[in-house]
Structure formats: structure tokens, C-alpha cells
Symmetry: C5
Subunit: 337 residues, 5 copies
């Protein structure tokens, strides 16, 4: 897989990356942990707090300020969750898996983004994900009309951001798949190709595991979990849902194509093996016949009249050539050579 | 795949292809973009606007006139959507994938048709699809009784048109499949056939992806999304639904047949390989035995009484022939030759 | 497949085959097209009209008399429908696929029977189906108690008739399957068997496609579509439902058995191939060793003391025999021979 | 499969096996067909009638006495039904498939038990099942507290009895499976093993077909069909349900293990074949080289100085030995020998 | 599988392991069987009784004290149940399967934990499970706030304890899988690896059977069975549910990877076999050609002019070398060597 990634952003230092309050879609101030409570009390105002691999103390402090549920905070600390949506009394907890192609040859790396969503706050916790959300926040802030829809819109923007990262990966896999196809049908496949196919399968399985649960998450956001996602934001989640379905479909398609390619390959090998066996047999026969004739005239019987004939040798050589030629033509005709 | 296509229609120029207002099923006037608002205000009148790969400016203008939703318009501009039905507050957005066999050897090409459906308008946006809707519109206009049912009927006509395009394709695949079957059972299959099978599989996967989502789309049109599709039009969508089910079934069937054919092929190769190995072994034995005997009488021992015998040579030749003959008959009987 | 069919009935001429009115389960009169309207007006009376591949004019006339829906009539005219049940405002439209084993070797042929069911009429349209419904009608008429239940009962009788035709076919397939099993385990399988397996698979796929949709059709008749099928007829459809489930199960079972048989076959071939390879290798060694020894004593060195020994030749022959014997015994013991 | 069965009970004569009336769980009298009507009229009393492959006359008589439905009686007469539960207006009809291991080598035999269940009667019809219900009836009669729950409890006891018969069968299959595993990994598998695997697969398919429909039957008894199964008997059917689920799971597990074993076997054969081919090639080379050298010195050129050397022969022999030894060591090292 | 287990705890003696009463989450007293009734009568108090493979008498006594249902007690006595949740009138019965890696090489061992849950009691019955619940009870007692939620919380703690035991097992399997992958791609796989793969598959099947039913159990605890599990405990069961889903997913993933690895292996063997066959054929040809030439000049014809030539021998040797060299280069180029 060739690297698709732009230069990796500078690694964030762990802890709070960004923290701001928004009123009617406009950033009104940066917020320290101590100010959160005051800001949350203001009507029509919401706080967006961005964390990167926080230590336990910080996370506990944040939990206290926003009143997050114990189990959700534990999940956000431990990471290694599967993508999911959990509804608590007055908040949502969303786990997303982020993916990245990095290194040469590019390998697939997974990170996680956890989102706590309340009436007037969004807390995001990133783990191992290389792309920070700085660009995303900037893009949201450029569009106060949409941001004024509140935390629900931020959740949409985040999910859209995460899901869109998968498309270049799936396209890179498309290319690898085409390479493999080419190698198979040019019959230049070797054991390295097999290893490559295996790695591709493993990557597709990982991608599938990252994306498939999002179908359910999006579906629930579109249909049921009403309170925190206002009605007019729903339609945006339907858009994410659609992208997730497409990704899912593309991955399934690639898995099926990979299987078909493997099958084609095995079939080609079988055909080739059969061909080789036929050619091996044909050449073995072509060489064995004159050898046998030579053996016969190499016998030491005293009474072998042919040996004394004047043209015995030449005739024998001719005979050998004839036999070989005849066999050659015969095998050619029947397609063994 | 042999080309099934009639001569491709002249490529449309991009932009508005056709735009007309209809009253009680009869075309009453052509409509420019500026007139749309006036026409939409008239009761019992609907506008049918046909676009082909519009540029962004035109699409934005159309969005303004009809009040289409941002996300739907973006989808219609970007294309590369999966077939779907989305319900907005007062409109439907339908994405259809169109298919086409073109070129020699015929290859499968996909396009897209997007439909915006409102109380009194239909807007169609075609992408890459070779067949224009001109013929379809003409056919609809010939039947005012049906067209008077309004935009819902136009949606039906469009879907029927798109779905019907798949039948000749599926039949062309049927023919390819029969060719492959024949090659397999005549055991003339080679690596080209394998590549052909693979391409066929890929085509079937693409077709499946284009058609399968339509089952859900049609199902929803028949059962739930009531407002824009009047009750007596439902029965027509059930007809489309039925066609989609049949296509789906035919494609699944072809995929299973292709798998069965491949299996049969592998089985035939295995049987053949076994046959070849047995024949190879039998002939090797038949040639090896006289060679061995010849070798024995080619030894230079001074004391080899047979060498001096008068008929030693002839007897040995006879022995060789006998051995070969015996082996030949034996192998014949046990089915190795 | 051996033919199971009784002699095919004389091919019907196309058009109306039979048309009669029934009152309280008794046939009261034959009915011409012109009389239908009068008869339908009579209370407690229903018309049963049987058509065989009618031309369009006749079908249109029938449509007019009974007030059938356009789309259903088109389906009945075109045929090539998948089995289905469609409910129109005041009528049901049922499509059934009929099957037949005919010819030597028996091949599977499919036909179609379309049924229009109203409050007081049944119209059946047969396509390509070899067995006429004459016998069925006679059987129904023998049982006025049941026939008095009205058109719903006729639908049941028809479906039962069609479904029961599948049992002998499935049993014939059972026999073919047993033949194939036998050939496989007697290891007398050849490429003809492979072709036979493939044809069997294709037949099973076709049967599955004909029968599987009936599960849904019967289920709906048993549970939901109440108006035209009176409550006490339901239990009869449950019987048909049960038969359909059994057929379905038998076909699935046969498909799995066929797969298992194929697998067993491939496994047997692999085992046999391995055996052959081992035997080939063993015999090659047994012949190669004396050939090599003979070659050595066929060398022309002046100083080869063994050549002058008195018993050199005999000892060498004994040595060869010993070597061959030793190899033979060794290979025997290790199971290679 | 080794026989698990205790000695088969004496074959019942066809007809009525047992017929008794029960009041508050106690057997009060034997009942002849003529007495049934009188007994059924008594409150708090139920009749339990046991039939074994009755002829049609008897079955019709029984139908009359208990007022059973035509279709159910036909099913009970014809047998060869799939396990099912059918609810008639005031009765239940349950079909169970019984299984038995008999003969040496033990083969799987299936029978059927049909149960008609009414408010105050149970009629059981056995077909081909070797174990009579005498023991079961005795066991029920020992526990009047439970039997007093009425016909519903008898149905439970019957189902429990039938389902429990499957456990020893599934365990016998477990043993066969272990034998096969052993043969495979000891690589002593031959074509007999393949046939055995195939038979095992067929048996598992048959068992699956007998047991899988019971999941649905039990589920309905536990949840929906309230009238004839009193609430406090439900919990017993849940127990049967649980056993059926376990059987189902065990069978599925065995099928998957069998597949895995077959796969392992094919993989072992492939590996072995590769080994054999490498050894065949290595030994062929080791023998071919001295043969070639011997051939060279067997040529009859007048001017071959080596032939006249004193130690020519010995050196040549040494050379041959060296070549063979070198090849042998080389092949050893690279793992070909 | 390397052992992951800490030293096994001392084997418990069979019978009652622990029995205590709790008020507001605090242990107030140990309880003998005779005291249970008195304690159960106290409000806000619950009893937690821990049994290990109790004999029937003890279990019957416990049944009497707590009023447990017959069928549940039988299940708890017999063990060998599948994981399930059963609701009785005023109690829940939960069956969990516990797993353990023990021995060298580590093998998978399964035990069972049965839980009876009432308004004011928890009874646990362990079978064969090596880890006692002592540590668990201690941990629960350290947290009176949570324990005060009552028996429902104890059920959660137990399930969490059991489910968490599966993670190290699944990780150990992950390692085995990686070893196998390595062996496959280093092409050092042999028949021992195949046996290992088979055992791994069997283990994965067993794990799947132990874990998959828990999805349903947890789901029901989270959603429906309200009475005994108070609302604020639900969220904890959702946590267990999540872990179960992850385990399930990991196992499925490992199964798919194992399949992919096997496929890769078969593909590698096929490729290797083809390579070997080509090399075998190439070397056979290279040796056969000079042997044939030598045979020709070993013939004893009196009139073979080459034999008398001065450089005949040398030229012939050169010819042989040339032929061999030519063949070698040719095969190299075409990739056969």
C-alpha cells in the first residue's frame, strides 16, 4: 500500500488540547476547567472540550465537571472499545474507531475517538489517532449557522470527519487489489503475493470491524435517540449513515473480489500444473524411446545381424529420429506439447 | 459479451435537456428556469425538469427554485451514490444506478439517475448514463390518463425504464455463462477462460450492488412513504418491485451457477490430472522394462552364456515385446491406459 | 433421470379450455364469455374459467368481463413471472410455477399457472404446463361439499395440485443422487458424472426458485389476506404450506448432500492421486536400480576384475534381484505398494 | 457407530396398544372405543389412547370419537411428515420424529409419533418407532401429582421422552467423530474413512432435519398456544425447549468439527503429496547420475584414455558414490529427503 | 498455548463454601442453613450463598429454604447446561460457562456457574470451575455503596467476573494464531501444525458456544426482565453486554483469520508443488539427454565411424556438456529452475 497520508501533524502533547465555549454558533471564549461550571450555567451556550490520551486524574476532573457516568469514563480511559453508542440518563457516549495509513510500506493503524455528548457540552477523547481535530474545529467555527444547532451538530461533524478518513484507505486497498489481480492473471504470482493477499484480508477484516458497528450507531441516531439530537440535525446523520453503508458495501465487495481472485488463482495453478505434467510426460517419452533403442543395440549378443549391416547404424539413428519426431508431432496434435 | 446495445444516442450536451409543465397529464408548455416559480403556483400542474451532468451553478439555481435540501443536492452533484430513497420534509430524493453494455468486447458501464420528487415537480439528474430520457418522456406524454396521476407516476415510469435496462444485460450474461459451461465440459478451458470467469464474477457483483438496494427502495415506496405517491400509483411500484426481485433472483442464480461451473471445472481437472498421472506411470513402466533388459545384456561379463546362444538376441527381443505387451494389456485392464 | 411421467395428455388447443358456473358446489351450466356477466350477478354462484396460453384479444375480453387489473393481465399474458401473490382491491392474483419431467433422458420443464381470484370467479391461465386441469376440475366436482366453499377452495385445489407435482420430481432427483453416490464411492466417477452433477445442481437451483417463493405465498394466505379466503379454508392452505416447507427442506437437503458427495469425491481423488504417486515412485525405484547396476557393468574399462569372474554375471543378476526384492518388500511394508 | 440400544422391545402388533381414562392423575379404568364418548363426558377426566400404525378404518373410528380434523388424521395416517405443531379450533396436532440406532454397524432409523391433544384427551399414533410408550405411561402413572395437570402434561412427557432419545445418538456420533479425527491425524485415512465421513454427514443432516423444527414447536408451546397448555405446564416445555436447543447446538458443532477435520485432512494430504514429490525427485536424481556416468563409460569410442587407466574403474565407482553421497547430503539438508 | 494461569487456588471441598447476610451492602453475619428463613424475613437484607458441586441432599435443602423451582434445581445439579437465563415467577436462574487454561501445553477447560436470584437472595452453584468466588466476594464487600443495590448487583459482579476470565484466553489464542501465521509464511508448516490448527478451531468453537448465548442473556437483562434487576443496575449489565459482544467479535475474527491462514497455506503448497514439478522436470531433462547420447555411442554396430575418430570421445563429451548447459540456461530463463 503506497502511503496516501499527508505529512503527519505534530504529535499532540497529552492532556487538554482545546477548550472553548460557544454561543449561537460563535466561539465566545476559551474555557479552563475551573470555568466550566459557570459556563454550563449560561443558557444557549455549550462547551466543546478536546482531550488527547488524558491521564486518569484529568479524566476524573472532567467527569466531575460534566457529571459523566463512571462506566463511560472507564471506557474512555481504557480505550480498546468497539464502536458503539450508549445512552445515559442525560448524555450520550459514542465510541468511534479512526484509521490511518502510515509508513512505507503503508500499514493500517487504528485509533479511537470517544465522545461525551450532553445538552450543553461535547467532550472528545482521542487515543492514538494521528490527525488532531484542530482542523475540524476550525471548519465548524467557520459556519456559525450550523454550529448554532448545538452539540448534536458537533457530533455529526466528528462522525463525518472520522468516516471520511476511511474512503482514501478503501481506495488504496482498491489499488492493491488491482495489483494482485494483475499478478494473478499474468501468472507471476509467488509466495510473496500470497502473503500480501493474507495481509489484505486481515486489513479488510479490521476495517469491517471498525465500520460495521457504525451502521447500527447511525441508524439509532437517525431514528430513535431523540432528546440530544434535535430533529433537523437528523438528516445530517442520515448522510453519515449513507457513507457508512457505502464503505461497508465497498469493503464487502473487496472481500468478495479477493476471494474470487484467489479462486481464479488456484484454478490457474491447477490448469498450469496439469499442463506441466503433460509436457513432462511427453518429453520423458520422447527421450526414453531412443534411449531404449540404443540400449537394445548396445547388447552384447554375438548373433545380432543388424550390428553387422552396413547402414545399420544410420538406419537406427534415423529410426530414433523418426520415433522422436513422430512422438513430438503426436503430442503436439493432442495438445500435450 | 456481445454488444446488445442499439447505436448509442448522440451524447447530450451538459445542462438542461428538457423542461415542461403538465396539466392533467398533458404537456402545456416548455418552462424556463425563470418561469418555474409561476408554474409551480398553478394548481393541478407539475413541472418535469431533465438535467444531464449539470454544473454547480445550474444545480444551485434549480435547488433555489424548487427548495431542495442541501445534502440531496450535494449527492446529486457528486454522484457515486448507492441506490437509495431519502424522504425530506416535503420531497423525495431517489438515486438509481443505470447500466449499459458498450464496446467490443462489450463491457459493463454504470451511470446514475437522481430524482427529486415534490408535490408538483420532478427533477431528474443524469450522470454518465448513455440513454437519454427523451424516449421515455415521449412515451409518458402519449398516455395522459396515466401522466395525470402526477409526479409519482413519472417516478414510476423512470424506475421502470431504468430497471428494464437490466434485463438485456442479465440475458447477455446468461449467454456468456453458457459459453463458459460449454468450454468447461468440452475440457477446452484455459487461462483465458479463467480470466473471463473472474470478469463475469466482478460484473455480477457490480450488478448486484446496483440492484439489491432497489428492493428496499421499492418496498418502501409500495408500503410506507405515502404522501407523495398516491394510493393508486402504489400498484405500479409493486410491478417495479417485482421486476427488481426477479433481477435479483436471476443474478443470484447466475452467481450460484458460476460457482457450480467452477467447482465442476476443478473436479474435471483433478480427474484429468489423475488420469494423466496414471498414463504417465504406465508408459514409463512399459519403456523402462525393455531398457532394463537391454542394460543387462549390455554388460561386459566374459561369462554370459545367453550372449553366445544362437537365438539369444531374438528371444530377448521377444521377451521385451512380451513384457511390454503384458504390461500394456495389464494397464489397459486396470484402466490406467 | 428416468421418466416418471405418465403419457403426456393431448396438447390443448390454445384459448378457452373449460368454463362453467357453480352453485353450492355443483356445476350448473357451461358458460360462454357472453354469459359471464349474467352469471356473476347471480348470488351464491361462481364461475371457473380455464384458459391455456390465450392470445391477447381473448385475455382482454376476459379482463373486461371480470374487471381484472391491467398489470396482472399483462403478467398473465407475458408469463415468465416468479411465483407470487398480489392483492388487488377486490381480487387476488397468484402466479405458480409448474414443473414436469419429460423426454429421455428426462429433463426438467417448467410452465406457469396464473390464477385470478374474485369473490365469485376463478380464472386460471396455463402456460406451457403439460398437464391440463381437466382431471383436477373433475375431482373438485366430485366433492360438492368442499367446492361449495367457493373460489377460495378452487385456489387451494389448484395449489395443492401444482405442489404435489413436485414430489415425484424430487424423488427422481433422490434416485439420481443415489446413483452418483454409488459411482463416487465405487471410484468409477468420470467426466460424464461431473457433467451430471452439474446438471443436477442446475435443476435443484431451478426447483428452489420455483418453490421457495411459495413459502411466502402460502404463509400470507394462511395468515393475512382474509377477505377472499374464508376462515375455514385457511386450514387447507396450511396443508399446502406444509407440503411446500417439506419440498423446500428436501431440496435443501439434496443440495447439501450433493455438496458433501462432491467433497467426498475430491477427497477420494486426492487420496488416490497420492497413492498413485507413491506407487509410481516405488516402481520407478525398483526398475531404476538394476538398470543402474547393468549400466555399471556395461562400462568398457579394461581393468574391471568382476567381469572376468566366473560367476560375476550370475552374482550380479542375483544382486539385481535382491535389490529389487528388497525395495519391493520395503515399499510394501511402508504402504507405498 | 456401535450399537447403543438395549434389546429392542417386542414389536407391537398394529392397532390400539393402550387406552385408559385418568381422573386427577390416577388411572381409573381401561377404555374401549365404545366407551370413549361416555368417558369424555365425565368432568375432570381425560382419555389417553395409544395407537401403533393403525389401519385406516381404526383411525377413522378414532377420528369420529374425538372429532379430529380431516387433514390432521390424513397426516397421521400417511406419516412422512416434518415435525410440526398445528392448532385446530379445539385441538392441537403435534408431529415428532423419533430416532433409533439399530443393527451392526449401527444405522440411524427414524420413526414418527403423532399426538392429538384435546381438552380431555391425548391420542398418540406411533409409526416405525421401535420403543413403545409403555414405559413412559408407567412412569407418568407413578406421579399422579404431575399427571393431574392433564393432557398438556402428557404432551410434555412425550416430547421429553422423544427428545431424550436423541442424546445417546449424538454421543455415539461424538465417538465416531473422534475415531475419524484419530485416523486423520495418524494419516491412516483411506477411502473407507471417506465413505464413513460421508455417511456421518448424511446422518447429521437427517438429525438436523428431525430436531431443528422442534425449536419452533417448543417455542410456540412456551409462548403462544395458551388454551390447551395450562400456564404452570409451560415451564416444563421450556425445559424441553432447552434440550432441543442443546441438541441443535451439539449437531451444529459436530458438523463444523467434521468440516474442520475434512479440511485438516485435505491439508495433510497436500503436504504429504508435496513431500512425496520431493522425495521422488531426490531419489530419481540420486539414481540417474551414476546411470549417466556408467552410460558414458559404456560408449565404444576407440580413443577413451580413461578406459585403459589402471584405476579407471575404481575411480569411476568412487566418483559415482561421491556424486550419490553428495546429492543425498544436499537433499537431506534442504529437507527433500 | 502457554499457560496464562496464576497458580490454581486450593481445590474447594464440595458443599457450602460461603454463606452470609448483607444489610445495606455490609456483611452483617455468617448464616447457617437453619438461619436462612429468619434472615430472609428481615427487610432490606439479602443472603448470598456460595456452593461448590453440592450433593443432592444439600441442594434439596437449599431448594426448600429459598423455594427454588424443581427444574432449575435439576439443571443446577446435573450441570452440562448451555448458558441461559430463565425467569421463574419470583426468581431468575442464570447459567454461565466458565473457562480456564491449565496444564502444559495449556488446554482449555470449561466449568459452570449457576446463579439463583431472588428478591433477597443469591445462590451460586459452581461446577468444575477452578477459580473460587472468594476473591470476588471480598471485592464486592469492599464496596458497600454498590453492594447495597442488592442481589442484582451480585449477579452483575459474577457475570463480569466470569466474562473477564475469557479475555486472557482469547489473547493466548491470538498468540497461537500468530505462531501459526509465521510457520505458514516461513513455509515450515508440517503435519503437527495442521493438528494444531485443528485443535485451535475446536477451541474456538467451544469458546463460541460458551459466549454466544450470553449475548442474548445480557440483552434480556438490559432490556426486559425488570423486576429483579433494578433500573440503575441495568447500565452495569450493558457493560457486561459490551464485553460479551467484544469477545464474540474477537472470536469470530480469529476464526476468519484462521480460515484465511489455511487458505493462504493451501495456496502456498499449490504454488510450491508446481515449482517442484517444474524443477523435477527440468533436472530430469538435463540428465536424460547425455544418458541418451551415451546410449547411442554404446551401441555395438560395427560401422559407426564416429567411434574411430580421434576426438570422437572428447567431442561427444563436449556435446553432452553443451546440451546440458543449454538446457540449464533455457530452463533458468523460463523460470523452471
Amino acid at each position: 500500500m503506497s502511503s496516501l497520508e499527508t505529512a503527519a501533524p505534530p504529535p499532540d502533547s497529552r492532556g487538554i488540547i482545546n477548550s472553548a465555549a460557544y454561543e449561537s454558533g460563535t466561539r465566545v471564549q476559551n474555557v479552563t476547567l475551573d470555568q466550566i461550571r459557570t459556563v454550563l450555567a449560561r443558557p444557549n451556550c455549550f462547551v466543546w472540550l478536546g482531550l488527547f490520551e488524558p491521564d486518569e486524574a484529568l479524566l476524573r476532573r472532567v467527569q466531575l465537571e460534566f457529571g459523566l457516568h463512571d462506566l463511560a469514563v472507564e471506557d474512555a480511559f481504557n480505550a480498546h472499545q468497539r464502536p458503539k453508542l450508549e445512552q445515559y440518563q442525560d448524555s450520550l457516549f459514542v465510541v468511534l474507531r479512526t484509521a490511518n495509513l502510515a509508513g512505507t510500506p503503508a500499514t493500517l493503524e487504528f485509533g479511537e475517538t470517544h465522545v461525551f455528548l450532553g445538552q450543553n457540552y461535547v467532550v472528545t477523547v482521542r487515543h492514538g489517532s494521528l490527525r488532531s481535530h484542530v482542523g475540524l474545529r476550525a471548519r465548524c467555527e467557520c459556519n456559525p449557522r450550523l454550529l448554532s444547532k448545538g452539540p448534536g451538530y458537533v457530533l455529526y461533524a466528528l462522525m463525518d470527519f472520522v468516516v471520511d478518513q476511511y474512503f482514501p484507505i478503501v481506495e488504496a486497498i482498491e489499488n492493491v487489489l488491482e495489483d494482485i489481480e494483475e499478478e494473478i492473471f499474468a501468472q507471476t504470482m509467488n509466495s510473496e503475493t500470497t502473503a500480501r493477499i493474507y495481509r489484505l484480508k486481515r486489513d479488510l477484516l479490521s476495517l469491517k470491524r471498525a465500520i460495521a458497528p457504525l451502521v447500527e450507531v447511525c441508524n439509532r441516531l437517525v431514528r430513535f435517540d431523540v432528546d440530544l439530537v434535535p430533529g433537523d440535525t437528523r438528516v445530517y446523520f442520515r448522510d453519515v449513515y449513507d457513507h457508512v453503508l457505502r464503505l461497508n458495501e465497498m469493503i464487502d465487495n473487496q472481500r468478495e473480489l479477493l476471494s474470487a481472485a484467489l479462486e481464479a488463482n488456484l484454478s490457474l495453478i491447477s490448469v498450469a500444473q496439469n499442463e506441466h505434467m503433460k509436457r513432462l510426460a511427453a518429453w520423458a517419452a520422447i527421450i526414453a524411446v531412443p534411449t531404449m533403442i540404443a540400449g537394445i543395440y548396445g547388447m552384447n549378443f554375438t548373433n545380432m545381424p543388424e550390428l553387422g549391416w552396413r547402414y545399420g547404424y544410420v538406419v537406427t539413428l534415423a529410426l530414433m529420429a523418426l520415433a522422436c519426431g513422430g512422438l513430438f508431432v503426436g503430442f503436439r496434435r493432442s495438445g500435450w506439447l
